[in-house]
């Protein structure tokens, strides 16, 4: 298979959030680094999910372009790449959903 395996997303990195993570999440969204330099497994997980989904997506569109312009890509490889991109995207959306749900759960805790 011509498609390189996906790197960068390890499902074991998915950690339950502690108070430190909530602080990290509240400092301004997913793009901002956490204030105290605390480890942010959630953020890192999501970031790596996004970047690998992105990479798979561009690989898929590259293959499809190859098939359409007749530069020799196999049709079935392109279809498989597209399907993998779709699944990566779904995975990424699920990760995002879980993170948001966890954050909301935490912020509902009475202090």
């Amino acid at each position: 298979m011509m498609i390189p395996p996906v790197q960068g997303f390890d499902i074991n990195a998915f950690q339950p959030a502690g108070a430190g993570q909530a602080a990290g999440l509240s400092t301004g969204g997913l793009g901002a680094p956490s204030a105290a330099g605390a480890p942010t497994p959630f953020l890192d997980t999501l970031k790596s999910a996004i970047s690998s989904a992105d990479q798979i997506n561009s690989d898929a569109s590259q293959q499809v372009t190859g098939v359409l312009t007749g530069t020799g890509g196999d049709v079935h490889s392109a279809m498989i790449a597209v399907e993998k991109a779709d699944l990566s995207f779904q995975m990424m959306m699920q990760v995002r959903s879980k993170i948001v749900a966890a954050y909301q759960e935490i912020s509902r805790m009475p202090f």
Partner: protein, 124 residues
């Protein structure tokens, strides 16, 4: 993700599809040259190539290596030097088509399983 989608089963099926397509190309060449003087029937060692890719390289990203093509043994040669057998090629054509179809169905099953795993048991 790397293990979820790119698992052993998917790799095997992907390689199977690649080899089927390659073989189809050779069969087509054979059939096209059924009347060409001196042409020798060509094919690949399907099982061998499949096994090699599974046990050997973890990642076959180099496009310049196709499977090894060799002449098919034990065919009768006609007076013009051509040894393409109409029967063999027809039979291989059917077989390759059907196996390709089978592999596609199995691959779809894989995708469906992964999709269900991601989406908590819902189809999509």
């Amino acid at each position: 993700m790397s293990n979820l989608i790119d698992n052993g089963q998917t790799k095997l099926l992907g390689k199977f599809l690649d080899l089927s397509v390659y073989r189809q190309g050779l069969l087509t060449s054979n059939i096209a040259n059924i009347d060409t003087p001196g042409y020798q029937t060509k094919d690949i060692d399907f099982k061998g190539e499949l096994q090699r890719s599974l046990s050997g390289a973890t990642d076959d990203s180099s496009p310049s290596f196709g499977p090894t093509v060799r002449n098919v043994p034990d065919l009768t040669t006609r007076p013009d030097g051509n040894n393409v057998s109409l029967d063999r090629e027809s039979m291989m054509l059917s077989e390759t088509s059907l196996k390709f179809r089978l592999a596609v169905q199995l691959m779809k099953e894989q995708f469906k399983e992964v999709s269900m795993a991601i989406n908590d048991g819902k189809a999509s």
